[in-house]
Amino acid sequence: MSLPPLPESAIEIDAFAADWRAAVRLSGEALVRSGAAKPGYADEMIRMIDDHGPYVVIAPGLALAHSRPGPQVIANGLSVVTLKEPVRFGHAHNDPVRVVLGLAISEAGAHLAAVAAVANIFNDSSAINELAAATSAAEVQRIMGANPS
């Protein structure tokens, strides 16, 4: 199972976000830098949370921001933003969030292998702490088992 591309441009370490919207926006901007999404994708990811609540906080400290395939997605891609100061999404159990993953998927049918690869990383519960403590993009790529290209 292969992880969506996670180039250095899609990784931001020790970022500052005033609130969850800003944190999700950073993950969207990272997807724009790597060429996976258009700027409007961040708005779509924020709208998902506005509409459905903080379910994207899938594990303690970890948010998986995403929206549907559509015109705002250019190619499959992943981004990783680690936060200097954790932010609250309003999740009953998994707040506060220290690591925000951004996920862009271009085709609905082809996403499960990509999501499964992401899920496999975090079945090791130490991965979130390791990511939150990472000091370089290369370290994030190593933890994620990402292909750096």
């Binding site: 594990a59 499960l112 899920a119 519960s125």
Partner: protein, 90 residues
């Protein structure tokens, strides 16, 4: 047996839930087809499902269904998934 996992977009947390539910089912030695879907299609996708797995946010949107609705707190907690699936199927 059919199990449907539900989230907002049908591509993110429902996919994670599908992968981890399949892992839990293997550990329980149970067979089921697990399908990830978004909440807007739940009525169609889950029409013939025995179980709907989701998070708290989507319970009210799922509405009336014949399936057992199981709410998962931590999508990566295999012991929670195993316990709740075993309770529902046992």
């Amino acid at each position: 047996m059919k199990i449907v996992t539900i989230c907002g977009a049908g591509i993110g947390s429902s996919g994670v839930l599908k992968v981890n539910a399949e892992r839990a089912l293997r550990a329980l030695d149970l067979e089921a087809s697990v399908v990830a879907a978004d909440v807007s299609t739940v009525r169609v996708v889950a029409a013939d499902a025995q179980i709907i797995l989701t998070t708290q946010e989507f319970v009210k949107d799922i509405g009336k269904t014949n399936a057992d609705v199981i709410v998962i707190v931590n999508l990566f907690d295999t012991s929670e998934l195993k316990q709740k699936l075993e309770d529902a199927l046992g």
